[in-house]
């Protein structure tokens, strides 16, 4: 029991994933700044933001909303993200081998933070938050189908293995999945899907600060907003790790492989940041059409290519 709690709260769960996530969030802002020829914030900037929100600021409760759901939603979202982080990171760090079917469990766990943000936004009783929540629901409806198709593709490519650990071992013996044409096609689709999952531009219409004034997070302040920020830091860390695990040959922390593993994750992160910086925010209808039609077609093309054998 004590061991499980340690896994969940400290390493590789909440604390560890959060700290790495804070560094990734800084990298996000710094690379963004460099792309725009700016200097960018200091390394500890996301940490200062988090401490300020957590300890200094007042938490304002909504007058017309449901206070219990408003406060519970960020906490449950954090727990969902942490559970996903544990399952994603344990096989990579070689702590346990996971269990059969964990890649399917991950699909559900990764959906929890977004669903909880929606619950929190609807509980706040603010009209702009509701608009944000409705947009987020539309986003979930669009990208989750592509996401499950991508996971199905990965399972097919790994000869019906349902375990993250074995998928990585298979890639280490037979070469990474991205080394084939179908792998490349699915990797591109997966990159776009996690962009939507992490709520980054061009798919950030749910929080669109210029039109909806932060949308789903509008009413949150102080500690509750700090928890949401922390959840987002964790997601920013584990989503690139997940993609690196299922497409880029898996992560392996031994000898020289440590360097390669870190480079793989950073590569996915930098690709996400560059997509974010080179695209304007889409309209919600455009985003839905983009996922439901084009990305799904792309994944299906990948599946067909896999059956043909390339």
């Amino acid at each position: 029991m004590a061991e499980q709690l340690f896994y969940f709260f400290i390493y590789p769960g909440m604390l560890f994933a959060g700290i790495i996530g804070i560094i990734f969030a800084w990298a996000d802002r710094k690379v963004t700044a460099r792309v725009q020829f700016r200097q960018g914030p200091p390394v500890l900037q996301p940490f200062y933001d988090f401490i300020k929100l957590l300890l200094v600021k007042e938490t304002i409760l909504p007058k017309n909303g449901s206070v219990i759901f408003f406060l519970l939603a960020p906490v449950l979202g954090l727990f969902g993200a942490t559970a996903a982080a544990v399952i994603i990171l344990m096989p990579a760090l070689g702590l346990t081998s996971g269990f059969r079917g964990d890649i399917i469990v991950l699909f559900y766990l990764l959906a929890i933070p977004t669903l909880m943000f929606i619950v929190g936004a609807l509980a706040s009783g603010n009209p702009l938050s509701s608009v944000g929540a409705s947009r987020e629901i539309k986003m979930v409806l669009s990208y989750e189908l592509s996401f499950i198709l991508i996971i199905a593709g990965v399972i097919l490519k790994s000869e019906m293995t349902l375990q993250l650990n074995e998928i990585m071992a298979l890639q280490q013996s037979q070469g990474a999945f991205i080394a084939s044409l179908s792998g490349i096609v699915m990797f591109i689709a997966a990159l776009v899907v996690i962009q939507g999952k992490a709520g980054m531009v061009p798919f950030d219409m749910a929080e669109a600060e210029t039109e909806l004034a932060e949308g789903i997070f509008m009413e949150y302040s102080g500690t509750a907003y700090a928890i949401i920020k922390y959840t987002k830091y964790i997601l920013l860390f584990i989503l690139p790790v997940f993609i690196a695990e299922i497409f880029l040959g898996g992560l392996h922390f031994e000898g020289i492989h440590i360097l390669w593993s870190i480079l793989k994750v950073l590569l996915v992160l930098v690709l996400m940041i560059l997509i974010r910086n080179t695209n304007p925010r889409l309209k919600i209808g455009q985003a839905m059409r983009f996922y439901l039609l084009w990305i799904n077609l792309l994944v299906i093309a990948g599946l067909v290519l896999h059956y043909i054998g390339i």
């Binding site: 700016r38 200091p42 900037q45 200062y48 401490i51 300020k52 200094v56 007042e58 600060e209």
Partner: protein, 137 residues
């Protein structure tokens, strides 16, 4: 200096309230976000919701219609928060001070922590004011 006040000092999020200005000050505020001045170096960023803000930046003259809205926004901000009056209009009323709809400079409506004079103030003036404000925390 504790961790709390240090983090607050290092991450001032600004909410911009534009009163009835001549629009020149708004453009000077946007200048601060450009690569040349880059306020993000100091952890300052513009936020869209008063719930997330630490600094309320008020520019332009406050007329009778703006006054209740300014009070409302001030109530919505999560405390501790600071108010900065930007430009001659924000500090004293400037060229609008004798108009019939003028409802008083900002500091007669809400408590103000820093004044930035100028018509419009330079972006450097805003940076220096925010730095001086951060030093008082």
């Amino acid at each position: 200096m504790g961790l709390k006040s240090f983090s607050l000092k290092k991450s001032l999020w600004v909410f911009h309230f534009g009163g009835a200005s001549c629009n020149n000050c708004d453009i000077e505020i946007l200048d601060c976000l450009t690569p040349r001045y880059d306020v993000e170096r100091f952890g300052i960023k513009l936020v869209g919701s008063p719930r997330h803000a630490d600094v309320l930046l008020v520019n332009g003259s406050i007329n009778k219609r703006d006054k209740p809205r300014l009070l409302e926004v001030y109530d919505q901000i999560a405390k501790p928060a600071f108010v900065v009056a930007f430009g001659a209009c924000g500090c004293t009323g400037g060229i609008f001070a004798e108009g019939i709809t003028f409802a008083g400079p900002v500091d007669t409506i809400i408590p103000v922590d820093a004044y930035i004079p100028g018509c419009p103030p330079k972006p450097e003036a805003m940076l220096s004011a925010l730095m001086k404000l951060a030093e008082t925390i």
